[in-house]
């Protein structure tokens, strides 16, 4: 009985130590991975420019190209969501792009939006949402950035 209980206790101790170590490693690696890839790609938003074409009579086409990188150790899912909103928070146009980026590689996220001529006047602001998720998309960091439309219709 004593031998049996000692065996159970030994197994329990090993399981407990292994589980603690595994959790610590998973938290450290995935936390680091999502943080470095997020910082790298969020910095890219500042250097990327939104291209606009067309006018209020034909409608406006907005294109956004964001180079994304994964300097981490695990695969990252990078997602960009671009929304054009009216004053009353109504979504006028929306575009999404998502890519899986293997560790140590880079890619591009591309979003193209079309604002129809009848909605151009209502166009008040744009919202950029960037998300970097890792560890089978279980852990992630996201950024939501809002920019008001400046001046008259582009």
């Amino acid at each position: 009985m004593a031998g049996k209980s000692k065996g159970i206790l030994r197994i329990l101790t090993v399981v407990s130590i292994v589980a603690t170590l595994c959790v610590d490693v998973v938290m450290a690696v995935s936390g680091y991975n999502s943080a470095v890839s997020f910082v790298q790609n969020a910095m890219g938003i500042a250097s990327s420019e939104m291209q606009t074409s067309g006018d209020s009579s034909t409608g406006i086409t907005l294109t956004f190209l964001l180079p994304v990188q994964n300097p981490g150790l695990l695969e990252v899912t990078a997602t960009i969501n671009l929304k054009i909103l009216s004053v009353g928070d109504e979504v006028i146009a929306e575009g999404v792009d998502s890519k899986r980026i293997p560790p140590g590689s880079s890619d591009e996220l591309f979003v193209s939006l079309f604002v129809p001529p009848d909605k151009v006047e209502a166009f008040a602001r744009g919202r950029i949402f960037l998300e970097c998720r890792t560890l089978f998309d279980l852990v992630g960091i996201s950024l939501s950035y809002e920019a008001r439309r400046e001046g008259p219709t582009p």
Binding site: A2, S5, I8, L9, L12, T13, V15, S16, A19, T20, V23, V26, M27, S30, G31, R133, L135, L138, V139, G140, I141, S142, L143, S144, Y145, E146, A147
Partner: protein, 173 residues
């Protein structure tokens, strides 16, 4: 007869010496186990926070209640140190050991809730940091699930250890 008495006295002294050694070893082990949480959760965070450049502090404080967070972590460190000391001082069959182990596991879990919520444990791993017109969201809910799993394993392990130790102790009596 005298030689026998002398021998018994010598044996008694030897038992006393061994007993003292065992107690001393227990105290050293308990003190060492209590020092670790003090270093990791009290000394390190306070030293690191003092090394943050003064011009960066208002910016950090705008997003995270840094002072409160470090204070809470320090208090948790002291409590964990006391629990760790008591854990190593009592026998395995003692109810104090079981309660200390369970309390220690719950406090560790609370500490993770506090850390992952950046000072607010009610956030349950989802934290939003607002900086002017941008909002950064940290989604670490999966880490909370992992910590919950560890909490379960720790409590189960403490109960099983206590059960077998108690059984052995009662059988020995």
């Amino acid at each position: 007869m005298k030689r026998e008495e002398k021998g018994q006295l010598h044996d008694h002294e030897e038992v006393n010496r061994v007993w003292k050694m065992v107690i001393l070893r227990k105290i050293i082990k308990a003190v060492l186990s209590a020092v670790l949480p003090i270093i990791i959760l009290v000394v390190v965070p306070n030293v690191v926070s003092q090394r943050i450049p003064a011009e960066m502090l208002p910016f950090i404080e705008e997003m995270i209640p840094l002072h409160g967070l470090i204070m809470s972590i320090s208090v948790i460190g002291v409590v964990l140190a006391i629990l760790s000391f008591s854990l190593n001082m009592v026998d395995d069959w003692s109810l104090i050991k079981l309660l200390s182990s369970i309390a220690s596991a719950f406090i560790s879990f609370y500490m993770w809730l506090l850390l992952l919520g950046l000072g607010d444990p009610s956030r349950m791993g989802v934290t939003q940091l607002s900086v002017e017109i941008a909002t950064i969201t940290l989604d670490f809910r999966f880490f909370i699930i992992l910590e919950l799993l560890l909490l379960g394993i720790s409590i189960f392990s403490a109960i099983v250890k206590f059960y077998f130790a108690r059984k052995e102790h009662l059988a020995g009596r």
